[in-house]
Symmetry: C2
Subunit: 241 residues, 2 copies
DNA sequence: CCAAAAGTGTTCGATATACACCCATGC
DNA sequence: GCATGGGTGTATATCGAACACTTTTGG
């Protein structure tokens, strides 16, 4: 056998999107400790090597559970990152030695995209620090995590065009048309007129107006709506053809 | 370090689509030898373990070159297959031992989709047998290769909706509207009326009518067209919105 | 009363859909 | 002459695009 064939470690990394109250997309980052000095922390994407009896989808579900305490999150595998140099900076090598074991030659990672209501309580059983970070304020991250995040954003754009209903994974159960509009605008390339958006939304039977309206807002209060996934599945619509 | 973390071999497998003269999609299969008896051959997808200094995209390009002799083929990574039991049948274990080395515990594969004009000469530097197989006649394959092919078909469906121009990777340089229509129909879920298809196609400036027409056909000869990729890039159209 | 966002209708043009007949050719 | 597929036009319906004003509420 050629010694050239790679014997590698395989990991999963998860990009979890949330939508905050300033109408911005956020991503969940955790922190790794670089040195023995506690203050030397650096943000990174949550991830883990996979176990020997685990499929990658299962490993991603495990990482998401360890991260948030949520058992079944929506997730989507989107790309394998295998650049031979993706984990070759001195800091990254040092961290891998401590976290896993010394002399790991190479790690290939499978990246996942996941969605989370930003109000959901984050109950990590593994990480001390789990923080939402607005996507326009992502710091420099280790490995190729910045690249993974950039590609995950392209992926969520494609996703929303294929399956419009993913927006409801990011919104609260009760939401206003305004929130829906701004979330769609934050993700999609397609820009849509506000009035036409309203018209479109009200034509969907699976977006159901509630009797409740906003309170304590410094403008006319908006109506809340809820999403009915069963009706959606029957309707099989896209926002725009 | 937990002994549970997997140290795995990583491979790429390529699903190469072609479009034949009976208007059917085909896939390139190679053969592996199971025993020392030369006749014991079994079809499989072309693939290879990746080298230690290779990115997965590079490995897929290498596999495609070894398969066809073509240097730069269109390719698209579409999914990582990592079921712990995907390579656990006795035949598969026996074959891996012979092809690579004994006691390979697990192989994770990254699957690629590629496209090839079926008239292109196949010049394999590695495989003795390289055959086009119609997708409705794919035999039972080793590993999870049948599953990979099924998912690759879903992927090419999505692909053609995102980027209509991939059909021209499958058609000859000169093609008739009929070929284009039947290829599109073979891939896409969307069914389109023949006359409306004609109308649509002739509205595209990047599909250019040639002076040449079919000869020796038992019906009115169809005009040949060619595809101009530069004009296409400017136009940025989809077949259907 | 002012700021801020909610909510609402109509017109126009483009595009998808549906549909049926005659034409050219080889055999 | 006949079988096979090539090639064409029109009418209708739907959908997306563009566009501005009044309403409600809190401060």
């Amino acid at each position: 056998m050629s010694p050239n064939f790679i014997h590698t470690y395989l990991s999963v990394d998860c990009v979890v999107f949330g939508f905050d109250h300033d109408n911005k997309l956020n991503i969940l980052l955790v922190k790794r400790r670089l040195d023995d000095v506690p203050k030397e922390m650096q943000s990174k994407l949550p991830g883990s090597l996979i176990f020997s009896n685990e499929d990658v989808d299962v490993a991603a579900q495990r990482v998401l559970f360890e991260l948030t305490g949520i058992k079944k999150m929506v997730l989507k595998q989107f790309k394998c990152f295998a650049d031979p140099l993706r984990a070759s900076s001195p800091d990254d090598i040092k961290w891998m030695s401590k976290e896993y074991k010394p002399n790991i030659d190479r790690i290939v990672t499978v990246a996942y995209l996941s969605l989370c209501k930003i109000d959901h309580k984050i109950n990590s059983v593994k990480y001390v620090t789990v923080d939402w970070c607005p996507i326009d304020k992502i710091p420099s991250l280790p490995f190729d995590h910045n690249k993974i995040i950039n590609e995950s954003f392209l992926e969520i754009r494609r996703w929303i065009e294929t399956d419009f209903s993913i927006v409801f994974e990011l919104l609260p159960k009760k939401f206003t048309i305004r929130q829906l509009y701004q979330l769609y605008s934050a993700i999609s390339e397609k820009k849509i007129d506000k009035k036409n958006f309203h018209k479109k939304i009200s034509s969907f039977n699976y977006i159901i107006p509630l009797d409740e309206i906003e309170s304590n807002v410094a403008h006319r209060a908006a109506r809340y709506y809820k999403f009915d996934s069963k009706l959606f599945k029957k309707s099989n619509t896209k926002l725009l053809k």
